[in-house]
């Protein structure tokens, strides 16, 4: 299933102090596809997701070994500019976290960091990103209003739009729908269909139906190890590992 890989991870080990949180992870993530990470709570899905754009740099006492290659370049190599890395690899978090400013300024926040000042250009990016996150029509008349006044589902799509505004190549989403109602959830799932046409999407989810619905490939993690990683259909129909089978049939987790 691997023609080319957008992200290649080789022998990745991560320690939080003494806690060996990720063990010898090897994975290749396809471009322009949705890859889902599943697994029981605490198995390291979020931790692994955060190694892909170095959000772990914010945590004290983390030690990382191994390589994470984005388009064949190691993102942990010395001299890597995390500003550029995070522009290429954007992130959407579990809790919607729009900034306490207007919807417009939220979306323009990223482009402004990367030096875009021109008002007309920004207007364009804002509209395009909001459309990309399927929320433009709902907010087009209130762009100057505070984003905190939106519903949770709308806020999460604002956060997706905000991530899209810097034209990322990869979009990491950590349980983006776990704080949302079913209607907002299905809106975001529909959105993923569109997103993968332009972006490489990696999503963490606790909801196996969601993985089946949205993901092309699925990776199953357990206790810091990558147990199995295959096309979603295959993984769920013919799990190769006993532990995967136990998990997806609900025997533990």
């Amino acid at each position: 299933m691997m023609e080319t890989a957008k992200i290649k991870v080789k022998k990745l080990n991560l320690y939080y102090g003494d806690n060996h949180a990720l063990k010898d992870i090897d994975i290749k993530i396809r471009p322009k596809a949705v890859t889902a990470f599943i697994g029981p709570s605490g198995c390291g899905k979020s931790t692994f997701l955060k190694t892909l754009n170095r959000m772990n740099d914010l945590v004290e006492n983390v030690k990382i070994e191994g390589e994470v290659l984005l388009d064949e370049k190691d993102i942990y190599a010395p001299g890597v500019d995390t500003t550029i890395l995070r522009k290429k690899v954007g992130m959407v978090f579990q809790q919607p976290n729009p900034f306490p400013m207007s919807i417009y300024d939220n979306i323009a926040y990223g482009p402004r960091i990367h030096g875009i000042k021109d008002k007309r250009k920004l207007d364009e990016i804002v509209e395009e990103s909001l459309r990309g996150a399927a929320i433009f029509d709902e907010v087009k008349d209130r762009l100057k209003k505070n984003a905190l006044g939106l519903s949770g589902g709308q806020q999460q799509r604002i956060c997706i739009a905000r991530a899209l505004a810097v034209c990322p190549e990869v979009l990491l989403m950590d349980e983006p729908t776990s704080a949302l109602d079913p209607i907002s959830t299905s809106k975001i799932e529909d959105l993923m269909e569109d997103l993968k046409k332009k972006y490489t999407v990696v999503i963490v989810t606790h909801n196996m139906q969601q993985a089946v619905r949205v993901a092309d490939d699925t990776a199953f993690f357990l206790l810091g190890e990558l147990i199995e990683f295959r096309e979603t259909k295959l993984l769920f129909s013919y799990p190769q590992d006993k532990r995967t089978e136990d998990y997806i049939t609900g025997r533990f987790g």
Partner: protein
Amino acid sequence: MNDNRDLSFQWNRRKINDVILYALIYICASLSVVILVGIIAYVFIRGVGSVNIGFLTSVTSVLKGTVGIAGNIVNTVLIIFLTMILATPIGVGAAIYLNEYAKPGKLVSLIEFATETLSGIPSIIFGLFGMMFFGQTLGMGYSLITGSLTLILMVLPLITRNTQEALKTVPDGYRQGAVGLGAGKWHTIRTILLPCSMPGIITGVILAIGRIVGESAALLFTAGSAKALPKTLTGIFSKIFESGGTMTVQLYLSATSEGDFDTAFAIAVVLLILVFLINIGTKKLTKKYDVTREK
């Protein structure tokens, strides 16, 4: 199991206790209001008659036969300005450093403990220190700048602590969101953390101004009590290096050594109005800068 009691109200011990407790709370609450209103009324009745344009715009002079606090007003404004223009950036900067840059640990707790202790020290001790260190050792004598430097030490903890509290309440999600978009640390601080903390910073600044307005002990030792007005506009700058008493210091002097209670109460009225205005201003400002408010 059915509860067979009917629903009609019946007194029991718990309900009686409730009533007694409520009565006590109401008595305490009204007492504090009555006392506050009483003090304000008393001060106004004694002082308001002496407050007029002349009182606010002239300087007390035996030769001219005038009574006024214009000089003290100018001194007060100058001291507030001098103190805050230095204390605000230092205090906010320290808070940012402690919260966002310093690694949590012994040193940070030590600094936080020191700041807390500092804010509990009686102001007269600051005055004593300021007089000896700034006034004598550094040779600045009795002057507004000596007073201001002393006051900076006093109000720094207020600003730092309020800013720190405000920074602590900024959700981590905002920091992660910004960093996730590629923002550097300082950019995040400037565009997200400081705007979010603005109400807290303003509260700290206003509390500090309140403390300055109300201070007498520390200033008597350091800034002195001169009441003359600067003669020229540029005199305002040289005034910084000369002695000058604030309104509160003058109030103290009027009520003690000068035995002029009319002036003392008149100043008290002016100060009360000032405090009232500062409070309203704070409310307005913190509301205006509340970034979470739907606009």
